[in-house]
């Protein structure tokens, strides 16, 4: 019993630490990566005994230290309590969302079978959306409490944008839910271990030699849903090209104009944690989660015949590594996106959300439904 609780706590601490660490490393990748893209040198000033570690010392040690030792300014005309609450509301949901995302299959440890996921909920993805939509309160409360016109405009823009894309995001996932028939993310990840040839209806069997060897990942079964979901997820993180709530050239910094020091760091960390969570979701729903193609619980089973049995620990290690690599890849895609495309205009953002993503997602649901009925 105590051991159970200890394992749960260990998993929770591990996941939160992983999200925060990835968020920190993303800060480094963002600064150095943008420097690389823009042909600059980037962060290189801070060093310990002459060791700058390619700017790692700067972004992982100097930046947080500096944030935490700056004055924690609360605008006297604003609301003291709400001003403190807002960064908590921004960071907290971003940290806990990862609880339902599986980072591996099961780990057999003696008699014990440990599910490599913090919380195995049968409402899995609904929890993700519930927590994701809490993030909007951080913006609105922060904007309101600051009593600043730039903040106010940013907050209003941000809330309208986030709720708009939430509709499209919720609708785009439905296709995936119909295919796998469950809300639990661990089950969705496990189902993606099969091959497409096992799902092929008999009247399409002539396609089996061509695509049958592919793993049944969401991207192959629901490619449109992937594009819609990823777009909506990027929009939810409020980064370029969707960074209207904090557009520097118009609103200075949007909803966090009046934030400094630790509270600004919390908004900042919350944003990067959201990126990590979005990458984790895309990985789990569309790219097999922790699945390595053809790797089953006892080793590799290749579709062209031949098996390669491997020890259990090695398999678990490979799964966790595969998950991490996929998540880091999608984090990098989001950062690349931020430094490659210009910002939308506000009417374009709203048009994309309501007039393109929403009808396309509806259409995707209808086509998926008809396809599944036809294939039965």
């Amino acid at each position: 019993m105590i051991v159970d609780l200890a394992i749960i706590t260990l998993k929770a601490v591990l996941v939160v630490a992983m999200v925060l660490n990835l968020a920190g490393v993303l800060g480094w990748i963002e600064r150095k990566g943008s420097a690389l893209i823009q042909d600059r040198i980037g962060a290189n000033r801070a060093s310990i005994f002459g060791f700058a570690g390619l700017g790692l010392v700067n972004t992982l040690i100097a930046d947080p230290l500096k944030f935490l030792t700056k004055e924690d300014f609360i605008p006297p005309k604003g609301d003291r309590f709400l001003h403190t609450l807002a960064p908590c509301m921004a960071l907290f949901p971003a940290l806990v969302t990862f609880a339902v995302i599986p980072f591996g299959d099961v780990l057999n440890f003696g008699e014990r079978v440990i599910n490599l996921q913090v919380a195995s909920l049968n409402i899995g993805i609904l929890y993700v959306f519930a927590m994701g939509s809490l993030g909007v309160y951080g913006i609105v409360i922060g904007a309101w409490a600051s009593n600043n016109k730039f903040s106010m405009l940013g907050g209003v823009r941000g809330s309208a944008q986030m709720i708009s894309y939430e509709v499209a995001m919720g609708l785009s996932v439905i296709g995936i839910l119909m295919v796998y028939g469950t809300l639990e993310l661990q089950d969705i990840a496990r189902d993606q271990g099969t091959l497409i040839r096992d799902l092929m209806p008999s009247w399409l069997s002539f396609l089996t030699p061509i695509v049958g060897w592919l793993p049944a990942w969401g991207i192959f079964l629901q490619p449109v849903a992937f594009i819609l979901f990823f777009t909506a997820a990027v929009a939810e993180t409020k980064r370029i090209p969707f960074d209207l709530p904090e557009g520097e050239s118009e609103l200075v910094a949007g909803y966090h104009v009046e934030y400094s020091g630790g509270k600004f760091l919390m908004f900042f960390a919350g944003e990067f944690a959201e990126i990590v969570t979005a990458a984790g979701l895309v990985t789990t729903l569309f790219f097999g989660g922790w699945q390595v193609p053809y790797l089953m619980r006892d080793g590799f089973h290749f579709p062209w015949g031949g098996t390669l049995l491997l020890p259990h620990l090695l398999i678990v290690l490979m799964q966790v590594t595969a998950f991490t690599v996929k998540v880091v890849f999608f984090c990098w895609v989001q950062i690349l996106l931020r430094w490659s495309v210009p910002r939308f205009r506000y009417d374009q953002v709203m048009r994309l959300g309501w007039k393109m993503l929403l009808p396309l997602a509806l259409l995707n649901v209808a086509v998926t439904a008809i396809w599944i009925i036809a294939a039965q």
């Binding site: 609780l5 996941v15 940290l95 106010m152």
Partner: protein, 118 residues
């Protein structure tokens, strides 16, 4: 001990500890100084005019209402999507009717210009 929501509680506790720790550290360290100019709301260096809680475009309100309507309808789709394979053609036709009604409402909103931003 095996309640499925127990790990969530632990996760919430861990996240709360981090959030509170950051807030505490931020308010403990760091200088405290104040002057009249610093206490003014930031308006690009100009003297601030009036209150910041100004009236904003009614379109944002409209978006919030549309969100409520459409998000609720999305929620209705979730249980249907999970049991879709068991419901078969019956479920397809039933949800088809629901989706048609939803689409009619969507087209109405579009034609009325509620989604325009110029």
């Amino acid at each position: 001990m095996n309640h499925p929501f127990l790990p969530l509680l632990v996760m919430f506790a861990v996240a709360s500890v981090i959030v509170v720790a950051l807030l505490t550290v931020a308010s403990l360290f760091g200088p405290k100084s104040t002057n009249a100019a610093k206490n003014d709301p930031f308006e690009s260096g100009n003297p601030p005019t009036g209150d910041a809680r100004i009236r904003f475009s009614v379109r944002f309100y409209l978006v919030a209402m549309l969100f409520l309507i459409f998000d609720l309808e999305v929620v209705f789709l979730y249980p249907w999507a999970i049991y879709f394979r068991h419901l078969g053609v019956f479920g397809l036709i039933q949800m088809g009717i629901f989706l048609v009604i939803l689409t009619v409402g969507y087209v109405y909103v579009w034609k009325k210009g509620a989604l325009e931003w110029d």
